[in-house]
């Protein structure tokens, strides 16, 4: 469904991504892990159009999308969440999501349909859908859910979820991981899930790709990857728990 070939991105002289290649299959829940600063978010930025890759090719459903504008890529069916939530604070929670439902599709939905879809998505992620709910009243977990809701409302075929667990407590993490799983299982949305903490992710995903210093250092089943010496070295000092 998504295939990356030798994707690179430099900032000035700094190489944030160096020749990364891998495939995401239809219906897959793929984990993308790596220590802080290894280039995970940069990769998402390249795929979603927020950044132009310096080199390489990004193909989605057989078509090149590298270098397209983010709104076009969204219309093609790729949605992303932001690691640090970026809600539209002047709008209500419902409007945030309705906006995504209205503009996120190739052909714009009428307002009423967009609102109805927004309510459905809010119910799915477990956020209030009344007009009075404002992003400012949401906590860390709520804002993460809003990111997810906004991305889902655009009706994606591929969801790029960036550190959905960051800043959550254990129970919230379990719920969020379960939610991603349900989005894949029930809605049939392919997911690439970025996380720098491995434990929860490893239990849920089908396959893992590991980045370090902008390079892919491993790819495979969670158990294989967790035992890979290069991965252990990259994560040196961080705890590697598989439950």
């Amino acid at each position: 469904m998504l295939s990356l070939e030798n994707v690179s991105r430099t900032f000035g002289g700094f190489r944030a991504l160096q020749g990364v290649s891998f495939e995401v299959k239809q219906g897959e829940l793929l984990g993308l892990i790596g220590p802080n600063g290894s280039g995970k978010t940069t990769l998402f930025n390249c795929v979603s159009g927020a950044l132009r890759p310096s080199a390489g090719s990004i193909r989605f459903r057989g078509e090149e999308v590298g270098g397209l504008t983010p709104d076009r890529i969204c219309h093609r069916g790729i949605a992303r969440t932001f690691q640090i939530p970026r809600p539209f604070k002047k709008l209500s929670v419902l409007e945030n999501v309705a906006l995504a439902a209205h503009f996120g599709h190739m052909t714009r939905e009428p307002d009423a349909a967009a609102r109805a879809r927004a309510r459905d998505v809010l119910r799915l992620v477990g956020l209030p859908s009344d007009e009075a709910a404002r992003p400012g009243l949401l906590g860390a977990a709520g804002l993460k859910k809003l990111e997810l809701a906004r991305a889902l409302a655009t009706g994606p075929a591929l969801l790029l979820a960036d550190e959905t667990l960051g800043g959550l407590d254990l129970e919230e993490m379990r719920q969020a991981a379960g939610l991603l799983r349900r989005i894949r299982d029930e809605m049939g949305i392919t997911i690439v899930w970025v996380e720098h903490i491995m434990a929860t992710l490893m239990r849920v995903v089908d396959r893992v790709v590991v980045l370090d210093h902008g390079e892919k250092i491993a790819e495979g089943m969670p158990r294989e990857v967790a035992e890979d010496p290069r991965v252990i070295e990259a994560y040196l000092g961080e705890k590697l728990v598989l439950g």
Binding site: S48, P70, F82, F88, A98, L99, F103, G104, R150, A151
Partner: protein
């Protein structure tokens, strides 16, 4: 109910020229026409300003509009009925030439404001440089076409101009309202807050910013035309450049750019203040008005960021309906 109130309000406004206004009747009408014209321009400016697209160069569109119709009429005898769409078209074109590269390359915030500031000055200097047709800094007088000439849009009777200005002002309010009630408003609001996030949910950021800018520029040019037709004398100082561009911004910020009537209230206040000081103190305190509203502006930006009208409206609404407890 609201609709009825608005209708009654408009009907009352339309009757104003026929009220017994006393010996100062003509003067009052004159000030009211000016308020309506500048309020229309302010409303057009606020279409952009409320979404964080702060233009400090709207004088460019104003001047382009006014000079286009005036030159066409004076030199070629082209009626302003034809000149006005041309003027608006030229302003839209100018906005496109300015806006497209700015928005495409993410020139935002202060940088955008600076680019527009420069544009206003460039147009002013161009008008001065082309003095053979434009009369340079001395300005240009609209060729007289008689006391009542519909084709030339020239009327000696101030009441007619008052009605024309009222109609144009209402069109401005209608456009503001139309943008406000659509998904376009949410989209522009989102863009104003965070372009990256807005683009990620499929909002064509460049296209939206461009469209609202073109709309604002076109309307502003129409305001320039109206001013030229009414005053029948234009010069680059009052219709282009930094001075007038900032005056528009002052008035709108004073009244509040987030409400329908904010720009109008702000314009009315600034013009009333300027006129009061001029009448009360004559030329002894020339520049006094600028000092006062400079000061007022600083206080308002600090204490009432929604503007005088916007701030008061908020207060009244909050009194009327105490906020629901967050659930």
């Amino acid at each position: 109910m609201k609709r009825l109130l608005a209708l009654v309000g408009v009907a009352l406004l339309a009757l104003v020229p026929w009220l017994p206004l006393g010996p100062a009747r003509l003067y009052i009408l004159h000030v009211l026409v000016l308020v309506l014209i500048w309020a229309f321009v302010g409303t057009a400016w606020a279409l952009m300003g409320r979404f964080g697209l702060v233009s400090l160069g709207h004088g460019a569109f104003l001047g382009l509009g006014a000079y286009t119709t005036t030159l066409l009429w004076n030199f070629l005898g082209v009626s302003p009925w034809i000149g006005t769409p041309l003027a608006a078209g030229l302003a839209v074109l100018l906005a496109l030439v300015l806006g497209y590269p700015c928005f495409r390359f993410r020139v935002v915030g202060h940088y955008f404001a600076l680019v527009t500031l420069a544009l206003g000055e460039v147009i002013r200097l161009l008008i001065i440089a082309e003095r053979d047709w434009t009369g340079g800094s001395l300005g240009l007088t609209l060729k007289d076409a008689g006391a009542f000439n519909l084709a030339a849009i020239q009327f000696a009777d101030k009441r007619i101009f008052y009605l024309v200005a009222l109609a144009v002002w209402l069109v401005g309010l209608w456009v503001w309202w139309w943008v406000d009630r659509s998904m376009t408003r949410s989209a522009l609001e989102a863009i104003g807050e965070d372009e990256t996030a807005a683009a990620s949910v499929g909002i064509p950021v460049t296209g939206f910013k461009l469209r609202i800018t073109l709309l604002s520029a076109g309307l502003t040019a129409v305001g320039g035309v109206l001013y030229a037709q009414y005053v029948t004398y234009i010069n680059p100082g009052t219709l282009a450049g930094i001075g007038v561009s900032l005056q528009i911004v002052f008035a709108v910020v004073l009244g509040g750019m987030y409400t329908l009537l904010g720009p109008t209230v702000g314009t009315a206040l600034t013009i009333a203040l300027a006129e009061y000081l001029r009448v009360a103190f004559g030329v002894r305190f020339l520049g006094m008005a600028d000092t006062i509203y400079g000061l007022a502006l600083v206080l308002i930006i600090i204490f009432l960021p929604a503007g005088l009208y916007g701030g008061l409206r908020e207060l009244v609404l909050r009194r009327a309906a105490p906020p629901r407890a967050a659930t």
